[in-house]
Symmetry: C2
Subunit: 233 residues, 2 copies
């Protein structure tokens, strides 16, 4: 892995976790210090992130973390529904044993960590939440992995990351209580997959994403005060 790859991962993670907040200008000198790399790998990473719509680039005016808004969040959710319902149908159509096994095992990995964090008598550490998030991402990826379309997969990946920008800060906020039982929804999804029920799986994904959107909307103002409509500025 090159330095540019490494910078890409680090900056992307900092944007998703909110360490680099929406709208934040990204000055090259500051980035150099923070990520311990020269101009070249940093600029390569930023150019990739621009293609992911995670940073904005204004000619000769540098990079900044792209803004967020409720409108944009619903755009991502709606587009995810379009992409992922199609991808899960194809995945169910083409998937083999190996794929089914991956779905089941990634679900189990996710529920183990989910359970573990639920039973904690203290707030979860950032590391524990990152591990949960990693398994959550892996499960969602597994569901559509055998759709046989590299384009759908790449779009789904980008959209997923963008939703995490809205979701991650909710996970780490200890004041918010997360009543929603995701385990149930995830299990039903995996069941639809193993019984090769394409219509059912598509409907479950859609419901799951709509519910996610509502959760994100309900917490948006609390987590991101005054961030809405920032794009208009």
């Amino acid at each position: 892995m090159t330095l540019a790859d490494h910078c890409y991962d680090l900056i992307r993670s900092d944007i998703v976790t909110g360490v680099l907040p929406p709208g934040q200008p990204l000055k090259m000198d500051a980035l150099k210090v923070r990520y311990g790399a020269g101009f070249s790998p940093l600029r390569e990473a930023l150019n990739r992130l621009q293609a992911d719509r995670l940073v904005d680039l204004a000619s000769s005016r540098g990079f900044r973390v792209s803004s967020i808004s409720l409108e944009e969040m619903w755009d991502v959710i709606q587009t995810r529904i379009l992409i992922e319902t199609d991808a899960i149908r194809k995945s169910i159509q083409y998937g083999d044993d190996r794929w089914e096994i991956d779905v089941v095992s990634s679900l189990h990995a996710l529920s183990l960590q989910s359970q573990r964090l639920n039973e904690l008598d203290r707030p979860a550490t950032n590391e524990e939440i990152l591990s949960l998030e990693k398994r959550h991402s892996a499960f969602h990826k597994a569901l559509i992995a055998s759709c046989q379309s590299q384009w759908l997969l790449s779009f789904a990946e980008k959209l997923y990351v963008e939703t995490e920008r809205y979701r991650f800060p909710i996970l780490t906020d200890r004041k918010l209580n997360k009543k929603r039982n995701l385990n149930d929804e995830h299990t039903r999804l995996a069941n639809a997959v193993t019984s090769r029920d394409a219509d059912g799986a598509a409907a479950l994904i859609e419901a799951h994403l709509l519910k996610t959107g509502e959760t994100l909307e309900n917490n948006f103002e609390i987590i991101f005060p005054d961030q809405n409509q920032l794009a208009a500025g």
Copy 2:
């Protein structure tokens, strides 16, 4: 516009027109000479093109033009159908007068150039074909322009460019006769749009893209001998 932006445009155009053929390794020194720029802007451009899936990057092994295949072409077409049918529905739902006018005027611009090239008693120049292609792209963009989803628009743009990789070499090959009357299909699309017929427009887009896919498939072997399955190598 920065040098990096300019390099991006030039290299992207060279990939789409086939000047840089699929699979071609892109050596930095050669690019430096060809595009008259230093390492930095070139590498920035290549990193963006990688996100567009137009070039592949193997860690420390440099860039190469990404391969093409019939399989990949159908993946692009199928994904375009998914994205563009949804986008045109939303576009019809949200579009105002300005949008309708843009559709009509971009259709007219396209048919003017199309007519002009048809009536030529000599083969069209590369420049004339590039102008046609520009208007074709503008028309397709206009149809979905008011869908109100930046994500759909950015996906549609990337997919469109990728299809042009298969289509452009057919346009410039003087031996192939292009019987297909695109004007008719485009006019019907514009009509569906101005009569706000979402189902009709979606069906027309789908048919249009499927037909395009068939044309590309029929000409693939002639234009790209031995290119298929290159990805496997």
